[in-house]
């Protein structure tokens, strides 16, 4: 009996008006889907169906595809590569003979084992599968999507893993569909990739407690090429907080928590030099064009510029401390999210500093794709503004007057995309159903009504914007250049009644 017949039969016998419901029960359950989990890929937008343990692939104008794993529940979407995404999932295995059922809730809890795994998923399902212990944390991806690396998360239990090497990281090679472990150091928590001139990942640096490992990824070796200690005192913990590579991959620059020391690691002839900085750094940015490193400080009104040969420090004085550095074409933009109002445009050729003053403390700053403007969401006591700093230079001069725009609420989402006339910023505001777009450089404002309050905003690879909403049963709107809205909805319902399946052990 197909659904339509059943539906008709049901309707005939009962009547209509089933949506005008006065519920008699109130419960609280985990949400059906996660509006913050949206991940754009070439094939569409992936979102996680939290209740069903699946993912849904949404494409405007096409049917939603529900991707289901028969033998595992998907816990998270990590990142995309091409038209696929890497997901973390859990297999549930019941002791043999404990139950003939195929459902997890039929298995006694003391007979149930959870096994972690990762799947590379596209519209057709699982393309590749990797054993990943549940003790591994989030993956970091190389820019070319070739590698994904997960360090061990010390907060996760290692039960079921036997003897787990707590100094290892897991490397997934998405091209060969293989995974292997590399022993790097205890409590590894940051990974940065080394790329060749074409941007392909060839190695990585893994920062652990008090040491840094330099690992080659071109051959699947389990041992790093070199391990650099950050201290020789076993009782002292040196915690790296930020790392950057010089453009030629010759040096790694590492800032240390609670210290003004910058560790410069020579990756070609392994050696270490410690450069004393003026204070505790707040941000570190390597500019490949000028081949310099820019450092801002938490408590110092200065930005230091280091060359990559002698690591001599040249100081640029500014009027207030900054803690964020953004790279633009030919400049670095520095600002603070700690309450200061200044933003600084630092020319990476002349090291000239132009000061911009926002009317309120910025919470987020994005640069226009062509680098001609910096747009900031600013807020004070619930009052939100959008402020535009013109970064263009005309005859060597800049207009440092910032143009503020009032918002209805506090800005929570900001994304930029190029369009025919320059670029366009889309602004989401907390609790507001309207999406505003600001064109640059014309500064024209347009409003787009949304069907319901938004949760997050982003861009698809083809330049379309997507906006996720908070609707419990699933709603994503896609916005194209011409402000045409296409809604995809109802995917939250997919599999909401599904019962998790046990993984059948192969005998």
């Amino acid at each position: 009996m197909n659904h339509r017949t059943l539906l008709m039969l049901a309707l005939l016998t009962t009547g209509c008006g089933r949506y005008d419901i006065d519920p008699s029960q109130y419960t609280e359950e985990e949400g059906l889907w996660d509006p913050q989990s949206a991940l754009p890929t070439d094939g569409g937008l992936f979102v996680r169906l939290t209740r069903a343990g699946d993912v849904a692939l949404l494409t405007p104008g096409q049917d939603t595809v529900r991707v289901h794993l028969d033998d595992a529940e998907i816990d998270s979407i990590e990142a995309g590569a091409g038209s696929a995404v890497l997901t973390r999932s859990t297999e549930f295995v019941c002791d043999a003979g404990a139950t003939p059922s195929k459902y997890v809730d039929d298995c006694p809890s003391d007979r149930l084992t959870q096994v972690g795994r990762a799947d590379l998923i596209d519209a057709s399902g699982s393309v590749a599968r990797f054993d990943v212990g549940a003790w591994y944390g989030a993956f970091t991806f190389s820019a070319d999507g070739h590698f994904a690396v997960a360090p061990i998360d010390a907060n996760r239990p290692t039960a079921g893993g036997g003897l787990v090497n707590l100094t290892s990281v897991l490397v997934i090679d998405e091209e060969t569909k293989t995974s292997y472990e590399v022993s790097v150091g205890f409590a590894a928590d940051r990974v940065i990739f080394r790329n060749d001139a074409e941007g392909k990942a060839i190695g990585m640096l893994v920062l652990s407690r008090s040491e840094v490992a330099n690992v080659d990824l071109t051959s699947q070796v389990a041992v790093p090429r070199a391990t650099y200690p950050l201290t020789l005192d076993a009782g002292q913990t040196v915690t790296p907080i930020d790392v950057a590579l010089t453009p030629d991959n010759h040096y790694a620059l590492i800032t240390i928590e609670g210290s003004g020391d910058l560790y410069v690691l020579d990756l070609e002839s392994p050696s270490i030099n410690i450069v004393a900085l003026a204070g505790h750094p707040s941000a570190l940015l390597v500019d490949p064009v000028s081949d310099r490193t820019y450092i801002s400080y938490k408590a110092s009104s200065r930005i230091d510029v280091l060359d990559h040969v002698r690591f001599d420090v040249e100081t640029l004085d500014v009027d207030s401390a900054t803690d964020h550095l953004i790279q633009g074409p030919g400049f670095v933009f520095a600002y603070s999210r700690s309450g200061a109002l200044d933003g600084y445009r630092i020319d990476t050729t002349t090291f000239a500093v132009d000061r911009y003053r926002f009317t309120q403390p910025p919470t987020k700053v994005e640069l226009a794709p062509d680098g001609t403007a910096a747009i900031a969401l600013t807020a004070t006591a619930g009052v939100g503004r959008l402020e535009v700093a013109d970064l263009r230079q005309v005859d060597g001069k800049v207009d440092t007057d910032v143009k503020p725009f009032g918002l209805d609420g506090v800005g929570v989402g900001l994304t930029f995309a190029a369009d025919a006339d320059g670029s366009r910023a889309l602004i989401l505001q907390d609790g507001v159903d309207t999406l505003y777009s600001l064109s640059w450089p014309s500064l024209q404002v347009k409003a787009v009504d949304l069907p319901s309050p938004p949760a997050a905003i982003g861009t698809m690879p083809d330049g379309t914007f997507y906006i996720t909403h908070q609707d419990a049963l699933g709603l994503v709107t896609f916005l194209d250049d011409a402000d045409n809205l296409v809604e995809v909805n109802g995917f939250g319902q997919l599999g909401m009644l599904d019962r998790p399946l046990l993984t059948q052990e192969e005998n």
């Binding site: 049901a10 419901i21 029960q25 059906l32 319901s452």
Partner: protein, 221 residues
């Protein structure tokens, strides 16, 4: 409506010995304990009401009788679910807007009831039925708007088998010489149901479980 007429038709007495032809209004409680239903309705008991009608197909001069019956029941339960998302990074929950869900289960069945007349008042019986349960899950994440995008329905069906033991108690004749009397009955038993998948909402849900049935109706000789 058609069901009602069908039940009525069956009530035409074939034999005048005992008042076995029946039309009844009944309440059925299905203690299915299904988690999926509980999630959608907030309860693990399906409370249904319905109609049943039956006609005697055999009775002997002593006490035994066999009735062929058919019925329809419907349970309709709704719940509002508030959502949350667990954030492993902070260890806390973020509140999400919720949705309202309603599960409408209609069961059509035919069966056989064999009873034993005791002084024309007390009729213990055995009852077996086969039927189909049709489920319809409706969800809506904004009750305040009649045109909300997310008003969705998923439908499914599953065969059911019911078996029960009960007793019927005849009420005094409504009027002297009338061939119509009233009865109340109580029945306890078990419903065996196959898994039901509700369209995109998946499942399966399973309505198997203990059954309790009670009702009141008319009996005809």
């Amino acid at each position: 409506m058609r069901t009602f007429l069908f039940a009525l038709a069956l009530a035409v007495p074939l034999d005048a010995f005992a008042a076995r032809n029946e039309v009844s209004f009944e309440y059925v409680a299905d203690f299915h304990g299904d988690e999926g239903v509980d999630m959608a309705t907030g309860t693990w008991v399906a409370n249904a009401v319905g109609l049943r009608g039956g006609g005697t197909i055999f009775q002997d001069r002593r006490h035994f009788g066999l009735v062929l019956d058919g019925g329809w029941t419907r349970s309709f339960q709704a719940a509002h679910t508030n959502g949350y998302l667990y954030d492993p990074a902070s260890g806390g929950n973020t509140e999400l807007p919720g949705y309202t869900s309603a599960l409408d289960i209609e069961t059509l069945s035919v069966g056989l009831k064999g009873d034993y007349e005791v002084r024309n008042i007390f009729y213990p019986y055995v009852h077996a039925q086969l039927g189909v349960a049709i489920g319809s899950l409706s969800v809506d994440d904004d009750n305040t708007r009649p045109d909300n995008l997310n008003q969705l329905t998923s439908v499914g069906a599953a065969p059911v088998g019911l078996f029960g033991l009960g007793a019927e108690i005849m009420l005094p004749d409504l009027a002297k010489g009338w061939k119509v009397t009233g009865a109340i009955f109580f029945e306890g038993g078990y419903q065996a149901a196959a898994n039901m998948r509700l369209g995109d909402a998946g499942g399966p849900i399973n309505l198997s479980g203990g059954l309790f049935r009670t009702g009141i109706g008319l009996r005809f000789r």
